[in-house]
Symmetry: C2
């Protein structure tokens, strides 16, 4: 075991729980785990980067709607492209509020358009669009570029785990190919270790080149019980450490470890309205489960001395 | 660039084509490729290990049929379990012959049973079954254990590529989780770098442990145009080197590289009846394509001084 966690983790029981676990699995003894089996999985939205007031990927997609509507007067009159074209974030917010009140009509319009937004675009073209977005786009309220919305203590944790022989994967409900182009820049995680939701892909063979194009349909949504399925499909090993922040992460956390093997499950609690956001909506069951099972809950307010990483170019 | 290919590759144009390519992409110059992008993909059946007289996985599954039939007198009267129970390989061979003659009835029976053979078994239980099979089972005609049916020149090629900064993935039509438990032993490839066909998985949460169980249905068959899709899904990069032996590998080979980037596509030709098998069935289009495009064709008879790796325990 090398040095401990970095300085953005406050001293206390949370930091100790992580360092104690890493000490046990890296020291010859009853809890020792071979380096090849030191697999750690991290959710992304709300775990590695900020997900409020809306997921970063949604902002990216709304800009795509505006681009689609720019030359199309029909789309300019049709939701959700109309809202994007007019920079009407109220319509988008209202769609979410209606959804919570049981009226899914506008949210379905929105999600259908999200699924179709990159129809027939090649994987390389999409990659370039994502990179360009992260070169320019700013978070709407935090006064930071999106490329500076990763959490500094989490990046420190990734490096600390790697220094102790762990291999890190992202396992997120977010779109896999949206995270891949920037996971290296923000987290030092290469594309082959990014697991996420996926649009269908179709193969097209041309005279000079063969391409993969996105379909206007999801292949799978990597959340809840789908997360362990996708983790196994990608890695072929059970994680021994998993970190999430919402109900959709529960199966991933439960799948980590076996009764006779050590495992650490960690939940990030967003309780810092001053420096980030304060919310538990969508995490109620996860927090209840964590308390009942004695999992590790990270208070952003108390356990983190700093929140955000510097923007990465 | 380090030393050249190992001694099981004969001197000649095939060996030179591989060494020249590796030299170009590892030397600073117009064809240089960064190590992170030196991705190589290998088919498995007929490319890394022997696939005749039947795929190794089929032999494994037939033994499972016999196990299922052992305590079930109804199954003992029902094909294909009956054939497995009675060690009647003729029925199984005839099913293939009928298929080639346009009568798919028996083959459908067989493939349906293959899909259902591991219904509700956990991923860990399946892993243990595969390991046990490779500890014991022998090839039916070659007089070697299955664990000694990998091709020595291919294992040399894998190590040579790794020594030159390549990362190797298996991309096979065979079942992903059948290859994973032995890809380390036979090829030095870890489970996270084995891509293949997959049964569906379902997640089951218990009081003490959470498990993944196989469904009695395929998730996808990783062959033909599905291969590039699965390669991208797993790796998020295009390969620059790909090796296969059949028509189902054509899209994978075509997807490797881009017009302005170097790529090497290799086909293994089974032309050695004395030391292995001599066949082109199922590879006709691939060979025609390879000759038209000036891809590299490996003659097992002329380019390989030895065929099989020693059995690995």
């Amino acid at each position: 075991m090398g040095a401990g966690l970095g300085g953005s983790w406050a001293d206390g029981s949370t930091r100790s729980a992580i360092e104690d676990f890493v000490g046990r699995v890296t020291t010859r003894g009853p809890d020792f785990v071979e380096p090849a089996d030191r697999v750690a999985v991290f959710d992304n939205d709300g775990t590695l980067w900020c997900e409020k007031p809306m997921p970063i990927q949604l902002d990216f997609t709304i800009r795509r709607f505006a681009e689609m509507a720019a030359g199309d007067s029909d789309l300019q009159q049709t939701q959700p492209w109309k809202a994007a074209h007019e920079h009407d974030l109220q319509w988008l917010g209202a769609a979410m509020v209606k959804h919570y009140r049981g009226d899914d009509g506008d949210l379905k319009l929105l999600m259908g358009a999200v699924t179709e937004a990159f129809d027939s675009i090649t994987v390389e073209n999409y990659d370039a669009r994502v990179r360009s977005f992260f070169d320019d786009a700013d978070h709407p309220t935090l006064g930071r570029p999106y490329s500076g919305c990763g959490y500094a203590p989490m990046v420190e944790l990734l490096r600390y785990l790697e220094a102790n022989g762990f291999t890190i994967y992202i396992a997120s409900g977010g779109d896999r190919d949206f995270m891949r182009p920037v996971a290296g820049r923000l987290y030092g995680i290469p594309p082959e270790r990014v697991i996420g939701s996926a649009l269908g892909l179709s193969y097209r063979e041309g005279a000079d080149t063969s391409d993969l194009l996105y379909k206007a349909a999801m292949d799978f949504f990597d959340d809840g019980p789908e997360k362990p399925v996708r983790i196994w499909s990608r890695i072929g090993r059970r994680p021994i450490l998993s970190v999430g922040n919402s109900n959709g992460d529960l199966p991933m956390l439960a799948f980590s470890g076996l009764p006779d093997r050590p495992a650490l499950r960690v939940l990030i609690l967003h309780d810092d309205a001053d420096r980030e956001f304060d919310y538990v909506a969508g995490a109620e069951q996860a927090l209840e489960h964590a308390r009942g099972k004695n999992w590790t809950v990270v208070s952003m307010k108390n356990d983190w001395t700093s929140i955000f990483s510097p923007a990465v170019t």
